[in-house]
Symmetry: C2
Subunit: 349 residues, 2 copies
């Protein structure tokens, strides 16, 4: 598809239509070929379109009478698939009226709705949630799973490795992404049976469109030594949130240090242009766009608190993944893996 | 015991006897009542004692012909329990010739040797490794388990909660430590069955010498909202290492920012006294001393790369835990928990 049409859940996120449309507008400026289906409360969307007149020609509106709130349970949300902006945005992907959906709404609800509407890809046991973490390297690192699957077997981990690598090839244009499994040590004997089995199978596999780097520990996530880090959803969620929380902890300490005296305030003013680089590097808006991998369609989750730039990044990511047909890439990679793997090395289902 | 005698593995850690004795000397200056059993290569220890003459009266030397190296496997190490400085330091605790041991050696070997020699306390299923993480609060937070137990059931988690709380009461003098379980959400329905069962049992228990705060997520570890964070060894190891790695990542980015221009270098010079506070707050030497909880004896693990101040902190911690008789406190707390808990709420062994 040369001109992706992105379905936007205009009502999700902390600031709803205002920030979503500002983000869409920004994404359109960067890529004028994009087209949008704006799903949500029609009057609210029209009001925002009045502020972004250049958007009008690229957008169609689909009215949704309802919206999913941040604290709605997934079980409540799925009953509103046909009335809520989130549900209708996903339905547009399912029905082929959009090539991808972007929502800044409740992650659990989005996952449940996307899974129910789009279904898991053939050959994939469980979809996974992937996100990006900043590194010292040239690109972010892809982390998955981040909470969709609390417990995972070796087969799940191998599928996450293949899906994460396909995602890194597509989103970051890395021909052979380096993939590692998150573990509590790097020796082959470390960790759970599931991790050891998954590592053995990936080592035993023939040529794959990824480079398997073995295990990686929690203190090296941001080193830029690998491109994809695979874990069960429990550990991955703990690792990603701990990384986010610690980055905030250190930058808050830094802010307190700078404001602790007149002298340090002056030092801050002098250093500010350089510190801006630090801020840009750590700004979640620059690493925005989590994605559900393993579904028959592309659904990108934007941070609930993302600003217009963050939303534009999520939209650009969705467009790129749609153009490159991520879903087909994953299907092809699964076939390559199965063909390249001695049957005894594939862990039982 | 009013004058604790601490067995020091003088040969462990990255810099061996030089740094261990410098740390012991520092600890003795702060608390002249301490006494030491220095275990290791006698000539090496004597050479260092010559540099710290004020130590001599407080120390006895026990020669050990062997030492455990950083990459020795636990299975190799335990065979050298009677010849290595690490093994003999632990043996001194077992035999009552020392009230606690401090080693900066290989964590896996130390755990294996300590467990074999000191045995697990009656009523405790598995010992755990606890360490300290800096926070915004008035004190550090205790985290356990950090890798001793890859998989844990509800009973293990409850025991970790009780042991961690006893440790926080002893080491940080908190009368009623706030204890939380590390999880991927704070709602009662989140996480593994083991976590849900452990939380239910801790909620159902009668008055305990701790305040149970429910679940905590990875992004709030450093908030100072709780005093003890309990997890299985896999997640705990991932969380602690991710926190350490991310803190280093951000401070490295900061250093790069400051050195990126002459102007920012000048700003750094002006802010340096204030930034020193940040450095002190994050310096692992100020949070040094991991401990194995649940054994019949006190074994403190100093960071392999700790400086003299770090070693002195680990020694002071060991002395404090010995004086307050941590092992007996844990035993008492277990009795209180069992008496205060309806029998149906204690998860099966």
């Amino acid at each position: 598809m040369d001109t992706p049409r992105i379905a936007i859940d205009a009502m999700g996120g902390d600031r709803g239509a205002a920030i979503m449309l500002a983000g869409v507008s920004r994404a359109l400026s960067a890529d004028p070929s994009l087209r949008f289906l704006l799903v949500g409360d029609e009057p609210a969307i029209r009001a925002e379109l009045d502020r972004h007149r250049s958007l009008a020609h690229a957008c169609e509106i689909e009215h949704a009478p309802d919206r999913i709130l941040g604290d709605d349970k997934p079980s409540q949300a799925i009953r509103r698939a046909k009335t809520s902006s989130m549900g209708l945005a996903i339905a547009a992907v399912k029905e082929g009226r959009a090539s991808a959906a972007v929502s800044a709404g409740n992650t659990g609800a989005l996952m449940a709705m996307a899974k129910l509407a789009l279904r898991t890809m053939p050959g994939i046991d469980r979809p996974a949630l992937a996100a990006l973490l900043p590194t010292f390297g040239a690109n972010d690192v892809v982390m998955l799973d981040l909470g969709a699957n609390t417990e995972c077997d070796a087969r799940n981990l191998i599928e996450f490795a293949l899906m994460g690598a396909a995602y890194a090839r597509t989103a970051m244009e890395l021909p052979t992404p380096r993939v590692a499994l998150l573990n509590i040590g790097t020796e082959e004997l470390k960790g759970t049976e599931e991790l050891k089995d998954a590592a053995a199978a990936l080592r035993a596999a023939g040529p794959l469109p990824l480079s398997f780097s073995g295990f990686i520990e929690g203190d090296r996530l941001s080193r830029g030594e690998v491109d994809v880090i695979v874990s069960d959803g429990f550990s991955g969620n703990i690792a990603l949130k701990t990384a986010e929380g610690t980055a905030r902890f250190v930058t808050d300490l830094l802010r307190r240090s700078f404001t602790s005296s007149l002298r340090s305030k002056l030092g801050f003013l002098l250093s500010r242009p350089a510190l801006h680089l630090l801020k840009v590097h750590l700004d979640p808006n620059n690493h925005n766009g989590a994605i559900f991998l393993g579904l028959n369609g592309i659904v990108v989750k934007s941070h609930g608190g993302a600003d217009a730039k963050g939303v534009a990044n999520a939209v650009a990511l969705a467009a790129k993944l749609a153009r490159e047909d991520l879903v087909r890439r994953i299907a092809r990679d699964l076939d390559v893996y199965r063909a390249a793997t001695p049957s005894e090395a594939i862990p039982a289902q």
